[in-house]
């Protein structure tokens, strides 16, 4: 075991932890008598600086990752670097949106927990070992439960947190149960060995065990990405959590979880690459008339099927349930479920080349960015009107034209209207799915996804209709903190620019993870 290697690979996580400790020391040690506003601003800025430092160490450290006993434990570079950079940038944006909020007096703790959860996210993104995956997920999740409960005066926040925690605890136990089966089948916790082990074990009659294990794991990870039928926590959590926490859950946590799914899908296809040994393939010619040996169902044939089922359920239920929502936060929750469905489709039909990985990364990064902006707008409106009902958006274009314009750009992007980034993300993802296989089944699923995104336009327009079309009840202007406004405008501008020039972000991702 080489601790220097471990330290080098986990530099970004270390930077975040140091920043978290620093925030606590500064906030609790030096700023106790200072006004809350200043404390929030200092804590948030320190947190942003921590993210920046982590980003810097990330860029400085491309290498082979960290291996233990010859098995890769933490990967580095490639899609991992992209996902980690995304996690850090989105965390920094969430912290900037915190500056304007007043739901808690414990600013330092909030920022520290955000940073620790983000370091859990970094671990999840790079983990290649079942145990590290589990620990990373728990580190991330525990932070999220705390963040959800952070608005102590709000009953909703407490309710959301307890629901989230109960579902989360349950799904973590299912995940661990599934992992233990996988370990039992393969005798290893390293992903490539586990995948290989599933084939060997399944050929010896272990298929039922494998199915149970995979369903358990799908339940655990489906919970993290809010895929139907493991989505029940999402609407309540999105509704009850304080806005920055909800934005964090909707973006950073999703990026980390999907990065994990990318890892699993990639290793599923490339598990033989990691053994660095020469092997023999034996062919047997079966004469006509002799019964064919049974086909072995390993990881590869079962996992994509489970993902496809989750994907269809999420797309359909997410989009249709969103139609009926009157709370914009719940609407965003169901739309998040629907978007998770689209992404799962990209993971179910996963390409040998890096095309699918890049398309999924592109989607989740831009989705995270858009959704942080959407929560930012919702929180501004919520503070002015006291509610996130659809009707509190009435006449927004008169009350704050800039905010209404940002809302318009972000929601149209979520609906997938060109030339905004959401459209390109969808196009790229669906093209990647059809690039893997253009058979009738992937084609039908893509057609379903496109049709469902036509449905989604209706509920996004419901919000925009209130902001732009319907008469205002109250015409007093809504004021937003200049920093919040600047962040929101920057996000909207990024959504437009990245949408008009899709090659920018695409090229950036490919510079880390070139398409073979």
């Amino acid at each position: 075991m080489n601790y220097a290697d471990l330290f080098r690979v986990t530099l970004p996580e270390t930077a975040l932890e140091i920043a978290a400790l620093l925030v606590l020391i500064v906030d609790l040690g030096f700023l106790r008598k200072v006004a809350l506003k200043v404390r929030v601003a200092v804590a948030a800025l320190l947190g942003v600086a921590g993210c920046g430092a982590a980003l810097w160490t990330l860029q400085a450290s491309y290498g082979a990752g960290y291996s233990f006993d010859g098995d890769l434990v933490l990967a580095q570079g490639g899609y991992v670097a992209v996902a980690q950079a995304g996690i850090l940038v989105l965390t920094a944006l969430t912290l900037l949106l915190l500056i304007d909020s007043n739901f808690t007096r414990h600013a330092g703790e909030f920022v520290a927990v955000v940073l620790m959860a983000a370091s859990g996210g970094l671990l999840v993104a790079s983990a290649q070992d079942l145990l590290v995956i589990f620990i990373g997920l728990e580190l991330l999740s525990l932070g999220l439960y705390i963040l959800t409960a952070f608005a102590k005066q709000s009953g909703k926040s407490a309710e959301a947190a307890i629901k989230y925690y109960l579902f989360g605890g349950m799904s973590a136990s299912l995940l661990l149960f599934g992992f233990s089966y996988l370990y039992g089948m393969s005798g290893s916790t390293s992903l490539p060995k586990v995948i290989l082990g599933t084939y060997l074990s399944a050929s010896n009659g272990g298929t039922p065990l494998l199915l149970i294990a995979l369903v358990m794991i799908a339940a655990g990870l489906g919970f993290k990405v809010a895929a139907v039928p493991f989505h029940l926590w999402a609407p309540d959590t999105y509704e009850g959590a304080p806005a920055p926490a909800a934005a964090f859950i909707a973006s950073v946590s999703k990026v980390a979880s999907f990065a994990l799914l990318i890892s699993i899908s990639t290793v599923t296809l490339h598990f033989l690459d990691s053994f660095h040994t020469t092997g023999f393939v034996t062919f047997t010619v079966i004469p006509a008339g002799v019964p064919r040996p049974p086909i072995v169902f390993g990881f590869r044939s079962t996992w994509p099927l489970i993902l496809a089922v989750l994907s269809v359920a999420s797309m359909v239920l997410g989009n249709f349930a969103a139609l009926a929502q009157t709370s914009v936060r719940r609407l965003l929750a169901y739309s998040a479920i629907a978007h998770a469905g689209y992404i799962l489709l990209g993971l179910a039909f996963y390409s040998w080349s890096n095309r699918s990985a890049n398309a999924v990364l592109y989607y989740i990064l831009t989705y995270g960015l858009t959704t942080i902006g959407a929560f930012g707008v919702v929180s501004v409106v919520e503070r002015a009107t006291g509610s996130d009902r659809l009707d509190s958006f009435l006449g927004l274009h008169k009350r704050n034209p800039l905010l209404a314009a940002v809302l318009g750009v972000l929601f149209l992007s979520l609906a997938g209207i060109p030339p905004l980034v959401g459209f390109w993300a969808k196009f790229n993802l669906f093209a990647a799915v059809l690039g893997v296989s253009a058979g009738p089944i992937p084609f039908a699923l893509v057609a379903l996804a496109v049709a469902m995104s036509a449905v989604s336009l209706y509920y996004y327009l419901q919000v925009l209709k209130r902001a732009y079309v319907m008469p205002a009840i109250d015409e007093t202007p809504i004021k937003a903190h200049p920093v919040t406004m600047a962040v929101l405008v920057a996000i909207a501008a990024a959504v437009v620019v990245l949408g008009c020039f899709p090659a920018l972000l695409q090229g950036w991702i490919e510079s880390f993870y070139p398409i073979l």
């Binding site: 209207i417 060109p418 030339p419 093209a431 995104s453 036509a454 209706y458 209709k465 090659a503």
Partner: protein, 502 residues
């Protein structure tokens, strides 16, 4: 230079959106200037392009890794439709001079829509075409929902959902064609030359054609059109009927027919005379012609008459496309131009000149108002527009519909016979509307007579006179001298029929 129509419109939209709210007249003049500059560019491009085939305007790599190009080009069909867009844009601004509510936003959405329309007509990359096609959806929604009338929110949402559903079908076809062709390009020409298999074209063609035809008002997917047209503010209904429905028809032609020509082949079996997708869509087009005309005959709302007449006239476009012969398809393109001008004129008269003064569109109420005496300009303008609409020789509609009917006769004579019924009913509903709205001899009640004397209608403004003069003049000019457009359309159609977009 044609490419600047797009940039100019979007730049104008952006500037108008940022304009201070308390300067409505500045917004109007700016919008007029942008629209007029667009028209000037369109005319210049049309004249410069005479006798030329396809000319590439801009070709930049957009997403190199997927072979997507920002490829703007123009052939004869594009130039004619860009010209139509320029005319409709200028007329639309003139007829919305009296918009007082959120004027700058109105014209911002208006120019964004125009920019999207120019973009569709000039794109020769399928992906780019699709992007512009979708850009046009959102401004339509807001134009109708904010500035519309009768059931505007319902009509706007219906229009948006229908358009988006149609474009979802197109997107599926685009993804399928892109991945199946494997040519690593979304250029229309590359895709047309990709040798897509017949079985692929057989299912992709109806998908894409239907997706576009929804916006062209094909029966039975036309129901967004009457409600949308009626609810929309005058300029928006002029654009909807004038150019947006043409987007659909243009897509049917440029994407549906040009990329998947084998999709129109016979199936090899026939079911009660229908043996290919061509028959299916031709029959739907004929049903649209007759159905639209019959329903227009029964309307009580003046604007609904025009709305359903649009469905009927767009049926001619689709029928012309399905003839797949030189004369029929040339007629279809000319009908797009002609109907764009005439429908714009009709909606302007009904929505702006009449409705904004009488505040009713019910034919029964208009009957008692003696509009021929009180608004003689409107009455005579409608006589001219009505004549053009029913296909009176001397107007553009005549030559266009004649060509479509001749083309259809060459394929299946009964198509022509059935569509001929539509023409006759067209005369009837136009006549009926004309009679009821303007030339009725029902005597007004004493009470109404008193009211008439008390407040006269506002005088006709110069914008209205200019707009009517522009549109009616163009229709008459093209009717008398169709060669000017046909010279541009015919070679382009010939090239398209010969296979390949070249």
């Amino acid at each position: 230079m044609l490419a600047w129509t797009i940039y100019l419109s979007f730049a104008g939209a952006l500037v108008l959106a940022l304009l201070p709210k308390d300067k409505p007249s500045l917004a109007r003049w700016l919008a007029l200037a942008v629209a007029a500059a667009g028209l000037a560019l369109a005319v210049q491009g049309f004249i410069a392009g005479m006798g030329q085939g396809r000319t590439v305007l801009v070709d930049l790599p957009w997403v190199p890794s997927m072979g997507i190009h920002f490829l703007l080009a123009a052939d004869g069909i594009s130039r004619v439709l860009v010209l139509l867009t320029g005319l409709a844009a200028v007329a639309g601004v003139l007829f919305s001079w009296n918009i007082e509510l959120r004027t700058n936003e109105f014209f911002a959405f208006y120019l964004a829509l125009i920019g999207g329309v120019y973009g569709v007509f000039l794109s020769f990359d399928l992906f780019l075409l699709f992007v512009f096609y979708e850009i046009a959806i959102v401004p339509k929604y807001f134009l109708i929902a904010i500035w519309g009338s009768t059931r505007r929110e319902y009509a706007a949402m219906k229009l948006a959902i229908y358009s988006f559903a149609g474009s979802a079908m197109v997107l599926i076809g685009l993804l399928a064609a892109y991945t199946t062709a494997g040519s690593h390009s979304t250029g229309l020409i590359e895709l047309a030359h990709a040798n897509l298999s017949v079985s692929f074209q057989m299912w992709c063609f109806p998908l894409v054609f239907t997706g576009f035809a929804i916006l062209a008002g094909m029966w039975p997917f036309h129901t967004w059109a009457p409600t949308g047209h009626v609810a929309a503010p005058t300029a928006a209904s002029m654009l909807l009927a004038g150019v947006v429905m043409k987007l659909g028809a243009y897509g049917c032609l440029r994407v549906g027919i040009a990329l998947f020509p084998r999709g129109l082949d016979p199936w090899g079996f026939s079911f009660s005379g229908i043996g290919s997708w061509r028959d299916v869509f031709a029959v739907l087009a004929v049903i649209g012609i007759v159905y639209g005309a019959l329903v227009a005959l029964a309307q009580t709302d003046f604007k609904f008459v025009i709305g359903y007449s649009s469905v009927s006239h767009m049926g001619f476009v689709l029928l012309g496309l399905m003839t797949l012969n030189q004369i029929g398809m040339t007629g279809a393109v000319l009908q797009m131009f002609s109907h764009g001008i005439i429908a714009g004129l009709l909606f302007a008269i009904v929505g702006r000149i009449v409705y904004d003064r009488t505040h009713t569109r019910q034919l029964a109420e208009l009957e008692t108002m003696h509009l021929s005496k009180r608004l003689p300009f409107a009455a005579w303008a409608f006589v001219i527009a009505g004549m053009a609409s029913i296909g009176m020789p001397g107007f553009s509609g005549f030559i266009a519909e004649l060509q479509v009917l001749v083309g259809a006769w060459m394929v299946r004579p009964w198509w022509t016979l059935a569509a001929g019924v539509g023409v006759v009913v067209g005369v009837a509903y136009t006549w009926r509307a004309l009679q009821k709205a303007f030339f009725s001899d029902i005597l007004p009640s004493a009470h109404l007579l008193e009211q008439e004397h008390e407040h006269n209608f506002a005088a006709i403004t110069w914008q209205e006179v200019t707009g009517v003069g522009l549109l009616a003049g163009v229709s008459l000019f093209v009717g008398l001298y169709p060669k000017i457009l046909l010279d541009a359309i015919e070679p382009a159609v010939k090239a398209l029929l010969a296979g390949g977009v070249q």
